[in-house]
Symmetry: C2
Subunit: 895 residues, 2 copies
C-alpha cells in the first residue's frame, strides 16, 4: 500500500468521529472508544488519534515518522481549535491538550499521560485570563512541567518533589493549597532550571515542540524494557504498536463546580445493577491516583453502605449525576456490557474521557451476564461466552477476604484453588487425629504420596515444598476440592524437628498459617476468608451452558463423597475411578502387603480374598450414587512398591504383623525398587504378571454391579478400563480373563452382566497402534498426564527443576501438564482418534487426565470430536462452560 | 481347488522323482531333498512323500484323511515294490519300510522314525531267508516292535528295556551281541504280550495296518504338546503341517560289508574343504544315536588328528569312500552349499538317506562362503547373504572352548558377547587396583552406574544381578567389547560381606568364575576359552560386504581405544561420542562436583574451567584417530545427581575436599534427587538451565578441532549433537550459544570453524515436531534407546520385572530394546524422517541407539532411507554385513 494514500490520524468531536469501537486494532482501545462515544453524541472533548500503524511504520523505518504525519496532525489540531474556539499556543485563549497512549491491549510500562500540554511562560497568562484564576493557571503549568519533565524528558520525579519540599520548608508551608500563584511561579523557575541542568537545554517553550515531544515519548515507551518484558510475558506481538490520543483539555480543578471521577455502570464486586464509583470535587484525575484526598462516593446508597460523611455526587451535583446516569445507561445499552467510565466535570459540564468494558469479580460477572440476558440486553449465548471458565473456581471454593490484611511469607504454585487457614501439621496421621478432634489443619509435606491421602482428606489445605501443578499433592487436592499450594521451593521442611523455615522465620507444628491456592500465596497466621454461595443465577447460567454444550463432562472420582459432589456439579458419569486409592486404607494395606510378600499365586489370591469384600463395598455406594450414569473403573495402576512401608518403624511393624522377618521385607522392597517407577512394572504389566489382582477386582466390580442392580432395579453402566496398554496382546489377555470372571459370576449368580472393556491410552505407542487396540477396546480414555510425560519425556514430579526456566525462556508457552500440548500430545490423540474410529466407528472416546478440567484442552477435545472429558469434581462446572463456549465458538465461526 | 484333482503323494526312486528341492513347502525339507537326490540319479532307496497338505486337510476335516489318499499310497507303494523287486507283506521276499516325519522346518517334539516296518511273525521269516541271517531278522523284528510300540502305540520305552534286562539277567547275558535268534524270539513274545496288556489289543500283524498306524502317528505328533510349544516359541504356523516320508528299508546292519554314517562335505567347525564325518560298521542309524559304540572317522586325516585306533572308512571301505566323495562333490555342486549327508552301506552298496545344508560355526561359515565364491561355486553376493550377521560376534570375541567342561551356576542375559574368566570383585576401585597388579578380574555388581566405568574397563568381564539388555552395564560392556552377563536375578550380591550367593553356593571376592556373554551362562571356576583370529578370509569377505552396502556404518565411541577399534573394524565415523563418560575420571569428578555445589553461574564457570583443558585433550586424540571421518559429539546428557557421591564415606570425603559441610552436600543431593531420572533434568534441559556446561564443552571441542587441523592439515568433520530435545526453542537457544562460542574462538584464534549442529531425536514429541526441529538441526540422530523407553513407557532398567513374562506370553515378539519395534518406535522414526526431509531435504539422518548393531533394525533403517547407523565398535562388522544383506535383498526383490 502506497504510503502517500495512508490516513495516519483519526479525528473525533462530540457528534462526529472518523473512528469507531470496531477500529480497536488501528486506534487502540481508548482511541476507538473515544471515537465511538463521539459518534454517539456524548460529550467528549474533541481530539484525534494517531494510529498504531504510525508506531509500526516508525520502528520499521529507523524511527522516522511517515512523511504525511505532520500535516495530518496539524490539520486535526486545527479542527480541535475550531471545535473549542481556542488556539494552540495562543497567549490570549490557549488550547491545552492531553496526550495519552493507548494500544489494543492495556499495557503497564507504557507512557501514560501528559496533561495541560501547550502551556508556556506566555500561554499560562492566557489560561489565567480565561479561568480568571491565576493560581490555577500557574498550578497547571507547574503540573505540566513536572509531568512532561519526568515522562518525556526523563528527569527523575524526586527532583521535582525535592524542589517543592525545600520551598515549602523554607516558606514554612505544609499544604499545596496554601501555595499562591507566586509560589508556583517560583517553583516553575526552579523546575525549569533543574530540567535545563539535567537535559543540557531549556524546557521547550514551543507548544508544537512539546506536542511532538510527547508523541515521541509515547512511541518510545513502546520499546522500553518494561513494555518489552510485559509483551513477552503476555504474548503481545511487537507489531501491534500503540496509538497516541491527543485531546483538548478539560479541567476538573477549576473550582467547586468542577470534579473528576470514575463510574462503573454496575457494581463490579457484586454485579448488582447499581451505578458504583468515586469522584473528587475540584481535582484533576491524577489527584485521585495520588491518594492525597479521599474520594467521595457517587451514590447515596454507597454513601450509606460505606458510612462516610462526605457528600455523594447524587446529592452534591444532582443534575450532573442524573446526566451521568443517562450516559451510563446509554453506554451499557450501546456496548451491551458493563462499562468502566472516566469523566470530568468542568464548570458544571460533564465530559466523558474514557469508557471500556469493566473488570469484575467472578461473582459479579455471573450476575451481570445472567441479568443482562434476562433484561434482553444480550442473548443467553452471549452470557455464556462472557464468563471465563476458570473464573468459576472463585465461585466454588472459599476465597480470601479481599479486605483482609496479610503477611505473605512465600509463594508456590497455585495448585488447587481456594483459601484455607489451619494449624500446621507435618504428618498425615497427625492431621487426621487433630481433624477428628475438631481442629482445622494445614498439612505441609516436602511432597505427598498415596499414603498421605487420609491426612490430605482430613486437612483443610495442603502445602508442599516440591512438585508441580500435576504433582500427587496438586492432583489429589484438586480432586478433593482442597486448596493446595505446591512446589513452594523456598520452604525448608524438617520432619524430625517438626518445623517449617521460610523467609528466615521458623514456624512450628501447631502454629496457624493460611494458604491461597488460587494465587499460591503462603501467609502467616489467620487471614479471613469468604465462603462461596451458589444460587439461582448459577443454576440459570449452567442451564444455558448445557443448552449449547455437545461434549459430555464426567468426573474423576473414587469416593462416595467425590461422586456426590460430582453429580451435584452436573457430572454425566465417572470417567476415572482409580481403584488403588481404595487399597491405602489402614485396614486393607496390610492385606495388600501380605499379597506382595506372597511367594506364589495361591498365597497372593489368599491375601487378595481378604480385600475383595471391602473393594466390592466401595463400588456399591459409588454405583448407587451414579445411578443411570456410566462409571469407568480403572484396574490397579501403581507399582506394588508404592504399597510397601517407608520408614524403619513401619518395616518392623509390618514384619511383626505378617509373621516374617524385617530382612525379608527389606529384600522384597529392594527387589521391587525401580529406578523409574513411572515407566516401570505397573498398570496392565502388573495385571499380566499377577493375574490374581485384576481377577479379584473384576469379581468385586461384577458382584457389586449385580447387587446394586437388584436394589435399584436399574443396571449399572459399567466400563472397565485397563491402564498403561502398549500392545493389543496385553488387552486381549486381560480382557479374556475379565470375561472369564464375568462368565463365572453369571453362572454362579444366575444373572447376565453387561459391561464394556476399554483401555487408557497413555503411551505414544498406544496412540500409534490405536487401530489394532480398538479391535479389543470398546472405549479409549486418554490418560493425558502420562501421555504428556512420555511424549515429552518429562517426569511431572521432577519437572520443577527446569520447567520454570522453560516458562521464563518461552520454550514452552503453557505448562504441558496444565494445557494439552497440541503440537505433540495433541497430534498423538488425533492419530489415535482417527485410527480407533477407523477400526470401530462407534468407539467411545474421552480424556481423563488432569487436562479434562482445562478450558483450552477441553476446546481441543471438542474440536477433534471426543465424546467426553473427565475432570475432578470441582472442575465439572468449568469443563461444562468451556465445552459450551467451544461449541458456540464453532457455531459462530460457521463450522 | 477341488479335492478330487489333488495329488497327495509324490514318488521318488533313483533317477526319477515327482518332487524336487524347490517343493519344500509341500514335501518338507527331507522329502524335497529325497526327490532332488533321486532326480540327480543318486542312489536313494525308493519311496514316496505324503504331502504337508494331507496334514492340513486332516486337521481341517475332523482328523479324516482326504478320500484319494489311500489309493495314491497303494499305487506309490506298488511302485516301490517294483523298484526293489520285493512285496510288502510277503513272507518270501518282504518289502520293509522306514516312515519318517519331515516338515518345512526341522522340529523337535515330532515323531521321528519307525524302521523295519512291514515285519510280522511271517515276513520275519522271509527276511531271514533273504538275508541268510536269522539272528539279524529277529533282531530287526524286535527293534521294529520296540520302536513302533513306543512311538506309535505310546507304550513307554522303559517297559521294553525292563523286559530285555530281565531276560539278560535270567540268561546271564550282558551284551546284545550275545543274543541269538532264539533269544530275540523270546523277547519278541514278551514285547507283544506287554503291548497287548497295555493297549488292550495285539500288536498289529497286518503290514498295511502298521503303515497307516505309523502315518497316523506322524500326523498325530504334529499336534502334541511339545510340538505346539515349539511352534509357538519359534513362530512356526500350525497351518504349515508336516509331510510323511515312506521309503524302502536299506540295512547297514546286515554284516561287516554294511555300515551307516553321516558326512559333512566340508569341516563344519573349521570350514576346511575336507570331508568330515563318522560311520559305524554293521549298524543301523539308531545305534549311532544310542552311543553304545564309538563311531569311526571317515577320513585318514580325521583319524590321525583324533589319534584314534579304529579304521577310517577311507581305508576300511576305500571304494565306497571314493563313491561317497563323488556324491559329496556332486551334492555340493548341485546345492551350491555345504551339505550334511546321511548314508547307509548295505552289502557294499552306498545308499543316500538324506542331504541338507549343513550347520556350521561362524568361523566355518565365513571360510566356506569365501572359498565357494573363490571356487566360483557361488557369487560373492551369495557369499555375503549366507552369513548370519550376528554370528560374526563369535569371530570378534574370545569364546568358550566348546570341548571344555563346566559347571553352570546360573544364567542371566547374554548382554555382551564373548567369554571371560577372572577373579570375582565387587568394587570398581578394587577391580582397577587388581587389574593394575596384573590380575584378570570379573566385576560383579547389583547394577552398574557411570562411576563404575573405570572398574568395568579394568575388568575382563562384567556380571550384574539387575538390568536388561540395554542396562548401563550391557551398553557400556558392548561398547568396550567386554563380555557381560546382566540381569542374573538369581544372584544375591552382598557388597558388605563381599559375597555372591547363587545356587546355594557362596562365592567370595577373589574366587575364580567364568561368564559367557554369548549365552548368559555363569560358571564356577575357570573354563578354557579360545581367542578369535581374523584373517584374510574375513577381510575378503568384508570387502565384498562393502561393495553391496549403501547404508553407512559409524561407531559409538568416546575413548581413543574404542575409536581405534572402531576404525579397525571399518567404522565410517563416530555417530555418538558421549561426553559424560569423560567426567567420571577421578581427576575430573571433583571439579564436576564443585560445579554442582556452586551457588551461582560464576562459580559454576570457575569449576568448569578446570575441566575444560582435560576435555579438550580428550577430543585431540579422538579427532586424530578419526581423521577424515565425521565425529558426532553429544553434549552432556545425564542428570547432575549422577555425579554426586553415593556412599557415606564419599559424602564425608567430598565435603572435606570442597571445603563445605556434609549437610550441605546431602541437602544438595536431596534437592537434585529425582523420582524418574530418565524423564528428568538432563540433556538439553541441563544445557538450558546451566548454560556454562555446554559453553565449556563447545569451547573444548572447537579448540581441539583447531589444534588437530593445524597438526594434520585436514579439518575435523565436527557434528555437535544436542540431546533430549523436545521443542524447536531448546535447539534455537543452545545452537545460538554454541555459535557464539564459535565466533569468539574464530576471533581469538584467527581461524574459521566449520561444524554441523544437530539433535538426538529420542522423544516422541521430537519425532512429531521434526519438521520444525529441522529448521535448526543439520542432522538428526535417532536415540532409539530412549525413544523406545518413552514410546513404550518402559524403563529399560526396570523392565526385567515383566519383560520376561511378556516374551513367554508372546506379548512382544522381540525385546524392543534389541530390535526396533517397527509398529510403534519405527513409525515415529518414519514420521520424523519424512518431516525432517520435507523441511531440509539434505538433512543427515542416522541412529545411534543400541539398535544400530542389530541386523533387523539395520534392515529397517536401510528401508526407510536413513544415511547411517552407529553402533558399538565391536558391532561395526555386523552392522556392515546386515546393511549389505538388506541392500542385496532389496535389489533381489527388484526394489
Amino acid at each position: 500500500m502506497g504510503q502517500s494514500k495512508m490516513k495516519w490520524v483519526y479525528a473525533f468531536s462530540s457528534g462526529v468521529a472518523e473512528g469507531s469501537a470496531d477500529m480497536r486494532d488501528l486506534l487502540g482501545g481508548k482511541g476507538a472508544n473515544l471515537g465511538e462515544m463521539s459518534s454517539l453524541g456524548l460529550p467528549v472533548p474533541p481530539g484525534f488519534t494517531i494510529t498504531t500503524e504510525v508506531c509500526t511504520s516508525f520502528y520499521e523505518n529507523n524511527e522516522q515518522y511517515p512523511g504525511e504525519l505532520e500535516s495530518q496532525v496539524i490539520t486535526a489540531l486545527s479542527e480541535v481549535e475550531s471545535a473549542v474556539s481556542a488556539k494552540f499556543g495562543s497567549s490570549e485563549n490557549p488550547l491545552l491538550l492531553s496526550v495519552r497512549s493507548g494500544g489494543r491491549a492495556s499495557m503497564p510500562g507504557m507512557m501514560d499521560t501528559v496533561l495541560n500540554l501547550g502551556l508556556n511562560d506566555k500561554t499560562v497568562e492566557g489560561l489565567a485570563e480565561q479561568s480568571k484564576d491565576r493560581r490555577f493557571a500557574y498550578d497547571s503549568y507547574r503540573r505540566f512541567i513536572q509531568m512532561y519533565g519526568s515522562v518525556v524528558l526523563d528527569v527523575a520525579h524526586h527532583h521535582f518533589e525535592d524542589i517543592l519540599e525545600d520551598y515549602k520548608e523554607q516558606k514554612n508551608l505544609s499544604l499545596d493549597t496554601e501555595m499562591l500563584a507566586e509560589d508556583w511561579q517560583a517553583i516553575i523557575s526552579s523546575y525549569a532550571a533543574e530540567i535545563e541542568r539535567q537535559c543540557g537545554k531549556p524546557f521547550p517553550q514551543d507548544p508544537l515542540a512539546q506536542l511532538w515531544g510527547a508523541i515521541g515519548a509515547v512511541f518510545g515507551s513502546w520499546m522500553n524494557q518494561r513494555a518489552k518484558t510485559y509483551r513477552k510475558l503476555h504474548n503481545i506481538p511487537e507489531s501491534w504498536g500503540t496509538a497516541v490520543n491527543v485531546q483538548a483539555m478539560v479541567f476538573g480543578n477549576m473550582g467547586n463546580d468542577c470534579a473528576t471521577g470514575v463510574a462503573f455502570t454496575r457494581d463490579p464486586s457484586t454485579g448488582n445493577n447499581e451505578i458504583y464509583g468515586e469522584y473528587l470535587v475540584n481535582a484533576q484525575g491524577e489527584d485521585v491516583v495520588a491518594g492525597i484526598r479521599t474520594p467521595q462516593p457517587l451514590t447515596l446508597k454507597e454513601k450509606s453502605r460505606g458510612g462516610v460523611e462526605s457528600l455523594a455526587m447524587e446529592e452534591a451535583m444532582p443534575e450532573i449525576y442524573q446526566e451521568l446516569q443517562k450516559v451510563c445507561a446509554r453506554l451499557e445499552a450501546h456496548y451491551r456490557d458493563m462499562q468502566d467510565i472516566e469523566f470530568t466535570v468542568q464548570k458544571g459540564f460533564l465530559w466523558m474521557l474514557q469508557t471500556r468494558n469493566a473488570k469484575r469479580t467472578a461473582h459479579a460477572a455471573l450476575k451481570v451476564s445472567v441479568a443482562m440476558a434476562k433484561e434482553g440486553l444480550i442473548e443467553p449465548r452471549e452470557a455464556v461466552m462472557r464468563i471465563e471458565p476458570s473464573s468459576l473456581e472463585q465461585l466454588l471454593h472459599p476465597t480470601l477476604d479481599p479486605e483482609a490484611s496479610r503477611v505473605v511469607l512465600a509463594r508456590g504454585l497455585a495448585a488447587s484453588p481456594g483459601a484455607a487457614t489451619g494449624r500446621l501439621v507435618f504428618e498425615a496421621d497427625e492431621a487426621e487425629r487433630l481433624s477428628h478432634a475438631g481442629e482445622k489443619v494445614l498439612l505441609a509435606r516436602i511432597e505427598t504420596s498415596p499414603e498421605d491421602i487420609h491426612g490430605m482428606h482430613a486437612a483443610v489445605g495442603i502445602l508442599t515444598a516440591r512438585g508441580g501443578m500435576t504433582s500427587h499433592a496438586a492432583v489429589v487436592a484438586r480432586g478433593m476440592g482442597r486448596p493446595c499450594v505446591s512446589g513452594a521451593s523456598e520452604l525448608q521442611i524438617d520432619y524430625s524437628a517438626k518445623t517449617l523455615v521460610v523467609a528466615e522465620k521458623t514456624i512450628k507444628s501447631g502454629e496457624i498459617m493460611t494458604i491461597d491456592g488460587s494465587t499460591g500465596e503462603i501467609m502467616e497466621g489467620r487471614v479471613a476468608t469468604v465462603q462461596p454461595e451458589l444460587g439461582g443465577d448459577f443454576d440459570t447460567f449452567m442451564a444455558w451452558v448445557d443448552e449449547y454444550r455437545t461434549l459430555k463432562v464426567r468426573a474423576n472420582a473414587e469416593t462416595p463423597e467425590d461422586a456426590a459432589i460430582a453429580r451435584k456439579f452436573g457430572a454425566e458419569g465417572i470417567g476415572l475411578c482409580r481403584t488403588e486409592h481404595m487399597f491405602f486404607d489402614a485396614s486393607r494395606i496390610s492385606a495388600m502387603r501380605e499379597m506382595i510378600m506372597a511367594k506364589n499365586s495361591h498365597d497372593r489370591s489368599g491375601a487378595l480374598a481378604k480385600v475383595q469384600p471391602m473393594q466390592r463395598n466401595d463400588f456399591l455406594e459409588l454405583f448407587e450414587i451414579m445411578e443411570g450414569l456410566p462409571v469407568t473403573i480403572r484396574l490397579l495402576d501403581p507399582p506394588l512398591h508404592e504399597f510397601l512401608p517407608k520408614t524403619d518403624s513401619e518395616f518392623a511393624e509390618f514384619a511383626r504383623s505378617t509373621d516374617t522377618t524385617e530382612v525379608a521385607v527389606r529384600n522384597r522392597a529392594a527387589q521391587l525398587h525401580e529406578l523409574n517407577p513411572m515407566l516401570g512394572h505397573r498398570g496392565c504389566r502388573l495385571g499380566i504378571t499377577h493375574p490374581e489382582i485384576y481377577e479379584m477386582q473384576a469379581r468385586a466390580i461384577f458382584e457389586a454391579a449385580v447387587e446394586v442392580r437388584q436394589k435399584l432395579g436399574n443396571p449399572v453402566h459399567l466400563e472397565i478400563m485397563i491402564p498403561l496398554v502398549a500392545t493389543k496382546s496385553e488387552l486381549e489377555i486381560i480382557r479374556s480373563r475379565i470375561d472369564l470372571v464375568a462368565k463365572e459370576i453369571e453362572g454362579s449368580l444366575q444373572t447376565e452382566l453387561s459391561y464394556l472393556v476399554g483401555t487408557m491410552v497413555e503411551l505414544p505407542r498406544a496412540c500409534l497402534c490405536a487401530g489394532s487396540l480398538a479391535k479389543e477396546a470398546e472405549f479409549f480414555s486418554f490418560g493425558t498426564n502420562d501421555l504428556t510425560q512420555t511424549t515429552f519425556g518429562i517426569s511431572r514430579d521432577d519437572s520443577g527443576h527446569f520447567l520454570p526456566t522453560y516458562h521464563e525462556s518461552n520454550i514452552v508457552e503453557q505448562d504441558p501438564f496444565v494445557s494439552i500440548d497440541e503440537g505433540g500430545v495433541g497430534e498423538l490423540i488425533q492419530i489415535a482418534t482417527d485410527r480407533g474410529r477407523a477400526t470401530r466407528p462407534d468407539i467411545k472416546l474421552g480424556i481423563c487426565g488432569e487436562h479434562g478440567g482445562d478450558p483450552s484442552s477441553i476446546s481441543f477435545c471438542h474440536k477433534i470430536g471426543l465424546d467426553y472429558v473427565s475432570c475432578s469434581a470441582y472442575r465439572v462446572p468449568i469443563a461444562r462452560l468451556a465445552a459450551a463456549q467451544t461449541s458456540i465458538g464453532q457455531i459462530t465461526r460457521g463450522d
